[in-house]
Structures are given as C-alpha cells and as structure tokens.
C-alpha cells in the first residue's frame, strides 16, 4: 500500500484509540461505498464475456468447484437421492472372494506379564502392530526379567513415560486385567496417567466406571458435574426433568447446587407453561403467534416470554413474571431490562410507564430506571415508540450533554430547545436553528426564544 503518500484519510491518525471507528456515517464508510459503486459501474464491461474466461473456476450447481472432494461427495449423495433406494436389500451376495487373512489381535501386551499370558495371544504375538506404539513392548520376553520375577502394577505405571499412546495401551490392558480397586489406587497417585484414563473413559462412553473412579478419588464435584452432564443427551423433556431431579442430591459445590436446583425448577415450570400455551388461543397468542417452544430456554428468555405473554398475571401462577422473578432471584436491573424489552416490543407504553413509576412515602410518583434513562430511550426508540413517549423519557436523562445528543439523534426538537434554554445557551440554539428547515414550527420557536428579552442568556 502507498505509505508515503498523503492520503485523504489523515483523519484516522489524529488520536490513538479513536483512530478507528465503526460509526455508520463514517467518512471511510462512505468512501468504501463509493469504491463499491465504482467497481460496480465497470462490472457490466467485464461480465458479458466472463464465461470464456479460463481463470474462472468451474463451479457446479452445489457451489463446489467441479472435481473437488466436496463436490464428489455431494454428487454421490445426490445420485443416491435421485436413484432412490436401489441398493439390494434382497438375498445376501454369494462370496466370490476368499476371506481376508485375519489379523492377529493386539492383546500381546499381556505377554509382558507373567502368568497373564494366554496361549493364543502368545502364539500370535504381532510384531508389526505393536511396533508403532511401544517399541519396548516387542523386545523378547527375556529382556523383561524384572517383570517375570516380580511384576507389580505400580512398577508398570511408573514405567509409563511420555509416550501417550503407550500410556493408553497400558491403561486399556490394566483396565481389562486389574481389579478396579487396585487400578484406581495406582492411578490416584499419577496425575498424567489418570487424566489419560479419564479421557479414555469419556471417549469410549464408559460413564459408570468413570463415576466410580471419581468417587473413589474423592473428586466429588467433578463426579457430580459428570453425572449432571448426562441430561444433555436426554431428549424427552419429562425424562430430562426427572433426571435433573435425581441430580439435586449430587455433591455439587454450594453455588452449583443452587444452579442445578434452578435448572430443575425451570424445566418443570416450562413444561407446565408449554402444555398450557400450546393450546391457548387468547388474543395475545393469536396476534403474536409463538415462534418456538419455551422448553429448555434460559431463565432470562423464559422471563421475557412471560413478560410478553403472561404480563399482569397474579404472582400465584407459575407463568407470571413476578413468580419467575422471585423464584429465580432475578435482580431488579435484569428484571427491569427484560420487562421493558418485552412491553416495548408490544408497544404497551403504559406498561413502560408503570414499570418506571415509583411512589414515595408521601404518595408522589416519580420515574426511576435502574439502567439509566438513556438506555430506556434507546430501547423505546428501537421498538418504534412515538415521539411523545420518547420525549417523556428523554427529559429524564440527567446529563444535559447526553440528553441533547440523544434528542438530536432521535430528532426530538423540543428537548433540544428546552435543554439549551435551560442552559441559557443562545449560541447553541442559533447553531441548531441553522440546521432546521426555515419556517418549520421548531424554527419559529427558536426564533421567538432568541429574541426574547425575558431570558438572561449566558452568551
């Protein structure tokens, strides 16, 4: 890229972190759009004769380059679809080929150990298949005198060095031959071998032994989490719920225990809500049909759903926002944000008002927002709130700078004007007026203001 050349984008280099902005109306974005147009404008010239261009990769209908592996696989798949199920389900084919010679088993590890050698394994000691993994295992047995005389599991595991494949090989063998009690005891002292063993059991899906092992090692939290994990593979929601119930007694850490309790209660509740709402056809469901089931959704999503479809229900019902809020200890801020989002989405501005209203002990109502009124305005705007509603909330933004910039962004002229008036900033008013359409109501208002003699302007 041209480095020395003074580009038009000196703009970028004025400060360190603001050098790079992702604002819409950004200068460079416009430039990018221009380049796009420039390139597009010459597209016509190029494309008419694109077909004969040997540079252009041949691409099949599936979008894969012809001849690629992906293309090949898709070809097979589509030919299968088109030809239907033409494979023969009929009689088994008569064998023409002689069967392949059977490969010998890999059980030869046993040849390492005295008294554990089965005749078949010994006779078929496979020289080749073992070589790759454990060179030392294919040495003549006489070299393993130490084992012949006095083999013990401890020694074997100690010998497991850095070669992971050997570790696994030995572990598989030990698992098949040793009693669990001895195996677990030996593993307890060897972290590397232990982690290999745990991973092996996870991979082969031997959950039961794994649970037993973790229990034996006193790793109760790991054991609890492992068992809890099983719920993911249970598809039926009632079975899943029942399973989660059995998890409640597992030895989780105190915090996790609460979370798992939440999980169980949530699913239990979701099942009830789902069963009811599936056949409900009250107005709200007709007007806003559900896009998906609420089963297995997170707590906040469930709260949103309840604020959307079950707002105003009494705290006694499972589906009411108040009940969900209480049961799952949802913070005030989180509740406010979620409820606001749901009610604004439904354009229920009066609900928004009520959500913000607080009454003090003298009976005055005052608007409060735990997330700040700026965010409230942004959420309302995103949901297409009318100008009046926006203005009401905008005027509650304390910081005048923030208020003015919000008002300008969302074109609430009254707020801009009132704020400048409040600040007695005549200059800013004049600047703002210059951006307005001459003769518009706002323009008139400012005109009157700046000529008013009743205001003591600061400038």
């Amino acid at each position: 890229m041209n480095k020395g050349k003074a580009e038009e984008d000196d703009y970028w280099h004025s400060s360190k972190y603001s050098a790079f902005t992702f604002d819409d109306d950004d200068y460079d974005f416009t430039k990018l759009k221009e380049s796009q147009r420039a390139v597009n404008s010459i597209r016509g010239l190029v494309e008419d004769d694109c077909e004969d261009d040997e540079d252009v990769e041949k691409v099949s209908w599936s979008g894969e380059p012809v001849g690629s592996i992906l293309w090949g696989v898709k070809e097979t798949a589509s030919s299968l679809r088109t030809s239907g199920d033409t494979q023969n389900h009929g009689f088994p084919k008569i064998q023409h080929n002689p069967p392949l010679p059977r490969q010998s088993s890999g059980y030869s590890l046993s040849s390492l150990f005295k008294g554990k050698v089965s005749a078949s394994a010994q006779s078929s000691l496979p020289d080749t298949s073992m070589r790759v993994y454990a060179p030392e295992l294919r040495k003549p047995r006489s070299e393993y005198k130490d084992y012949d005389s006095d083999w013990n599991s401890e020694e074997t595991i100690r010998r497991i060095s850095h070669n992971s494949n050997v570790i696994t090989a030995v572990l598989i063998f030990l698992k098949r031959t040793l009693s669990k009690a001895i195996l677990f005891r030996e593993l307890a002292e060897r972290e590397v071998a232990l982690r290999h063993f745990i991973h092996l059991l996870k991979e082969t899906g031997e959950q039961r032994i794994l649970v037993e092992l973790l229990k034996k090692l006193g790793r109760m939290e790991d054991m609890a989490l492992l068992q809890y994990k099983e719920h993911i593979s249970i598809k039926d929601e009632n079975q899943r719920k029942d399973f989660l119930k059995t998890c409640l007694s597992l030895p989780f850490s105190p915090d996790d225990s609460t979370h798992v309790q939440d999980h169980y209660m949530l699913l239990e509740r979701q099942i009830i809500i789902e069963a009811n709402d599936k056949r409900t056809d009250t107005e709200i469901f007709k007007k806003h049909p559900r896009k998906a089931s609420i089963l297995n959704m997170p707590i906040i999503t469930t709260l949103y759903y309840s604020c959307f479809y079950h707002y105003g229900e009494s705290e006694g019902t499972f589906s009411s926002p108040a009940n969900i809020r209480k049961t799952f200890r949802i913070s005030e801020k989180q509740y406010f944000l979620t409820a606001l989002g749901a009610r604004a989405k439904l354009k229920q501005w009066s609900d928004v008002d009520r959500l913000c209203n607080t009454t003090n002990w003298l009976g005055y109502t005052k608007k409060k927002s735990p997330i700040g009124f700026q965010r409230v305005v942004e959420i309302l705007h995103k949901n297409g709130a009318p100008l009046q509603v926006l203005q009401d909330y905008m005027s509650l933004v304390d910081n005048t700078e923030v208020r003015v910039s919000l008002a300008q962004k969302f074109k609430c002229h009254d707020i801009v004007i009132n704020t400048y008036k409040e600040l007695k900033d005549r200059q800013q008013l004049i600047v703002y007026q210059s951006k307005l359409e001459r003769g518009s109501p706002e323009y008139q208002v400012i005109d009157e203001l700046i000529h008013s003699l009743n205001i003591r302007w600061k400038n």
């Binding site: 420039a38 190029v46 392949l100």
Partner: protein, 615 residues
C-alpha cells in the same frame, strides 16, 4: 508498511513438496486395496484432502463413489469399502457397526481403514472389543502437514487444543514430533530449537528420539531455527478481537483450510462464492496484514486505478485495443473480481461491527489489557450478559477479565457466573468447570495474597529460593500473571503517545496499537538474546518449561547470519491466530527474517471457546 529491514528477508522454502508427498502416500494406500472401492471420508478431512487431490486423482485409483462419514447406516453396493478417518473412537465404532451389520446380513466385503494422520492404540482396542479386528485392515496416512500459504502450514488438528490442554491427553504430542521430524528431514537440519511450554518440551523430546533412530543425511538447510510455543503460554492474545483484515475475515466469515465462503451479503448476488485467501490473491496479499482502518483507503485507491486502466480504452485505435485486450484485460478482470469481493467483505464487516457497537467493545478490551477502569469494564460485561448478546462474546470478555486480573474477585465471580447461567442456560455450569480447569476463568483464591508475600520474600532471600517458592505456589493454581508480564515485556505501549496505524512502529499495530501479543513478543525477545538469558523472571511467570537447544552460550549473536538462520519456523501447539501471524510477518520485515508458521490449527476466540463448551 514496515521499515525496510537491514537485509531483505530470505524467501521461504518450497512447501508444495509436502502436498506431493501426502498425495503420493494416499495413492499408495489406495492401491493397497486393488479394484473398485467406495471411499468414506471423515467430514473434517474433506477440505484438507481437497487441497492436495481431487476426484480425478481418486477415480484414477479406482475409487468409485465418495461418501461423507455421517455415523449412519450406509447404502454402498461396493464389495470394497475404504474409510479415510481420524483416529476417533466414535468413528471407529461406527465402522465396526457397518462391518457388524454386514455380517448380520450375511454380506461379505473387504474393509480398509486409513487413519489420518496416524492410528492410536485405542482404535485397535475398539476394533477388538467390537469383534471386527480381523475383518478390517488398517493403515496410517501420514498427512501431518498441509501448507495453506507460502508461510503457513497447518496440521488441521483443531482437537489438539482441547485434548491436550483441557483433557490432559497427550496423544497428539507424538504427532507434533512426527511433523517436526518430517520438516527437519525435508528442510533442516535445524541448528537451533527454542521452546516454551510443557507440550513443546515433549514434542521436542519425541522428535529428538526419532532423530536418534534415523540416519542423518547431510543437506544444506533451508530452515535453521525452530521455535515451539504452547498455546497455554498466552491465552490473552487469541481472545482479543482481531482488527487486521485477515483476522477480521476469520472472526466473521471463518476461514476454513485457507478458503472462505462469502455469502450473498458480500457478493451482492444471490449466490455464495468460495475464495482461496493466500498470497496468490494480489488484492488480498496487500491488505491481509493491514489494520482494518487502512483497508478502505487502499481499496478505494485500487478501485480508482482500475477505473483509470479501463478508461484507457477510450480513444484507442483498433491496434491498441487489440493489445489492450490481449495483454491487460485479463489481469484487470481478475483484479476487478477480487477487488469487488474484498470491498463487499469490508462493507459487510463494517455493517456487522457497527451493529454490535464494536467501538465500545474494543474500548473495554483495551481497558482490560491496560488494567485501567476495570470496574467500568466489568459493568460493560455485565450489561452484555444481561442483554443476552452473543454467548461466546460474553464468555470471551469474562476470560479476558480473569486472565488480565489474575482471576475474578469471589463476589464478582459468583455474580457474573449466576448472571451468565441465567442468560445463556444453566448447562453452562459445565463450560465454567472447563474454563476453570484450563485456568482461563477463575476465582481469586484467598491464598492469592501469598503473591504479595512471595514477592517480598523474593527480595529478602536469593533468587533461587524465590523461584522454588513460586514453583510451589504455581502448582496450586495456574496463574496468568498477565499484569506482571505485561510490565516486564512492555506489552501495553504508553497510551499518551499517538499511534500511526499506517506506519506501525511495533507489533502492537495488530491490536490498534494497544497491545503487543505476548506470544510474539516472547519469540522476538528470545531471538534477540539468542536464548532465555535475561528473561529468568519472565520464564518464572510463564510457568517455566522453557528450553533452548543448540543456541551456544547465549547472548546476542554476532556476525552475519546465513539465509537458513534467518528462516525461522514457529510452531504453535494448540493453534494460533491470523493476528499472530500478521505480527510475526511484521517482525520478519523489521528484522530481515522470514517466519514460517506451523500450527496445529488456525484458531480465533470463537473456535477456542467453542472447543471448551460441553454440548
């Protein structure tokens, strides 16, 4: 963009040899099963295979139909089945099922499993247990290394990261050793090896053993120096938002095996286009390492040049026009196509990033890196979570917070975890357990105050004792020590200085001048010192396991270096990001070095965190 080095960097060796070797071995293996056969390919092997062979190659060696492994009953009518798979238990079990259902149906076929890149013992054990050990033949296809570009080689093993660093299964270490061995015999002999990390050490040992067994051939080296880096030495860098073009494209569109699929929003048509992204793409190669803010001006300049070139046609006579068409038009058209794609991509990146308020996000990341206004950053993360913005993004920010702050305060940890589970699902308990195990999202232990004591003790007694103390403590919990490392290695440049992203002065440009990637800084420092001398404090903080072999006595090296010594292979065990590659390319240009990056896989924050989810 860099200051020209004192000498031009040497050009990289020719890695296409690796592709040829892999292809030849595959053909050899296919020929081991003579006659027509159907080939089942593991899904994640398809793209790598595509880079070295095509359907014609396979057909020439009597592959009839191609299938993707889908862990479902098969419909093949062939008498011979060949399975090209990764050495995974689930896949081997599926193959066993295929064999067993044939047996049950009284059907006879020949079966061959080709494991890529190697077979594990556990695969044989599964075949045995399923009772099909004698029915299948097995082989290994040693396709360890796939060159993605002239300076990037990938092992295409994304599972390396989770299995090695989270599960503690070291099965792939040997594979890394084998890959090194292959590189050594083709492009070595290496004269120096540096490394940091436990896995790096083991991979080195594994390679050294192979080295001792094989005979040494004397050849002139192409690559003189090797650097092995464990991913767990630096988790901060891959978790930062990428802002160089190639990194952004990867974060947003996910580059797969050096190729990206641009959807309709980029192509401004109704179809998607797959594009190879490498140095052969003349537009891409000029912007890939650039900070995104520079990309616009470059693309618009290019577009203008292109326009001018086309405009030349006007007023040409027939003869000139003929020359224009035969000599220039094709090049222009090619450029036009690429330019239009990259402009479309930039536009789409802009739109996406504007929508998610990228500016605020970057500000938060920078605060965390600087350790400045951390409470505000936490509030930002909290809001991110409570608004249910992207699940992975929230996790990424939490991890960055924990890594840079050496863990979260217990009350923050509890609150943020509860909020996270409420927003994204309670089952993420499992994710949190994994992140804790890995040490990337942890609670500060009450014992953390020991750190203070430890440093005090360190001043009182000699260094050796302090080292022992640190070892004892670091065995309790893996700490990131980011703040101290950052200070020691000057990772965060002073914020009051202006940073000209167009003329970067150091590797920090890849993160808008806010942070020099730790991994690359370590490489730079060790190369500069020709060893670890003087970095004792740093190595203590990255949990030791550093080594230097063949580097002589240490200390800066005098005299001219040979070309091979200036070609440096950096192998990332557990993955590296495009931003790190861009940083190394920058370093290379500055120092007149050529970096070759070998990685177990290209990663980014999304891939890294997704690997740690338990779904």
């Amino acid at each position: 963009m860099a200051q020209p080095g004192w000498r031009d960097a040497p050009s990289p060796p020719d890695f296409s040899l690796l592709k040829r070797l892999a292809r030849d071995q595959l053909i050899y293996l296919l020929e081991q099963l003579p006659g027509k056969k159907d080939l089942f390919i593991e899904g994640d092997l398809m793209s790598p295979l595509d880079r070295i062979a095509n359907v014609t190659t396979l057909k020439q060696h009597e592959v009839d139909k191609l299938y993707k492994v889908e862990h479902k009953p098969i419909v093949s009518t062939s008498d011979q089945l060949c399975f090209l798979i990764r050495p995974r238990v689930a896949t081997v079990k599926w193959v066993s099922d295929v064999v067993n259902s044939d047996k049950a149906a009284g059907r006879f076929r020949r079966y061959k499993i080709i494991f890529c890149p190697q077979k594990f013992y556990v695969c044989d054990a599964v075949l045995e247990e399923e009772g099909v050990y004698g029915d299948v033949t097995t082989d290994s296809w040693h396709f360890y290394l796939l060159p993605l570009d002239e300076d990037i080689i990938s092992m295409e093993l994304p599972e390396f990261f989770r299995e090695n660093f989270l599960e503690g299964d070291q099965r792939w270490v040997e594979t890394a050793g084998n890959a090194l061995h292959l590189l050594h015999s083709l492009y070595g002999p290496f004269s120096k090896v540096f490394g940091m990390g436990r896995c790096a050490k083991m991979a080195y040992e594994s390679w050294r053993e192979l080295q001792e067994e094989s005979e040494q051939k004397s050849r002139r080296a192409d690559i003189g120096t090797v650097f092995l880096v464990d991913r767990d030495v630096d988790y901060v860098t891959p978790l930062c938002s990428q802002v160089v073009y190639e990194g952004l494209v990867d974060d947003i569109f996910r580059i797969k095996c050096g190729s990206v699929e641009f959807g309709p929003e980029v192509t401004s048509s109704d179809k998607s286009v797959k594009v190879m992204l490498n140095s052969e793409d003349k537009v891409f190669s000029e912007i890939r390492n650039e900070h995104f803010s520079n990309v616009f001006s470059f693309l618009s300049q290019k577009a203008r040049n292109l326009q001018t070139a086309y405009d030349k046609r006007r007023g040409m006579d027939i003869q000139q026009m003929k020359t224009f068409v035969s000599e220039e038009l094709k090049g222009l058209k090619q450029e036009h196509r690429l330019l239009s794609l990259h402009i479309g991509a930039s536009e789409s990146i802009m739109k996406k990033k504007t929508k998610q308020d990228f500016q605020e996000l970057l500000k938060t990341e920078h605060s965390l890196l600087e350790g400045f206004e951390v409470r505000e950053a936490i509030a930002y993360i909290e809001e991110h979570i409570s608004r249910q913005v992207s699940m992975v993004e929230s996790l990424r920010l939490l991890c960055l917070l924990s890594l840079t702050e050496n863990g979260l305060l217990p009350k923050d940890y509890r609150a943020l975890k509860s909020q996270y589970l409420q927003s994204y699902g309670v089952e993420h308990l499992l994710t949190f357990a994994n992140l804790r195990q890995l040490g990337v999202l942890v609670e500060q232990q009450p014992g953390e105050t020991l750190t203070v004591m430890e440093s005090k003790v360190g001043k009182l007694v000699n260094d050796k004792t302090a080292g022992k103390l640190t070892d004892a403590f670091s065995s309790l919990a893996k700490k990131s020590n980011f703040r101290a490392l950052s200070k020691k290695l000057a990772l965060v440049p002073k914020s009051d200085e202006e940073y000209d992203l167009r003329v970067p002065k150091d590797m920090a440009y890849i993160f808008s001048g806010a942070y020099v990637p730790l991994s690359c800084r370590l490489v730079e420092q060790v190369l500069e010192r020709n060893g670890w001398t003087g970095l004792e404090e740093v190595t203590r903080m990255i949990n030791r396991h550093e080594f230097a072999v063949g580097a002589g006595g240490g200390g800066p090296e005098g005299g001219e270096k040979t070309d091979a010594q200036r070609v440096i292979l950096v192998m990332f065990l557990g993955g590296c990001t495009y931003s790190e590659i861009a940083a190394l390319r920058f370093l290379g240009r500055e120092r007149g070095l050529k970096f070759i990056v070998v990685t177990t896989a290209i990663t980014n924050s999304g891939r890294l965190l997704e690997a740690l989810l338990d779904h």
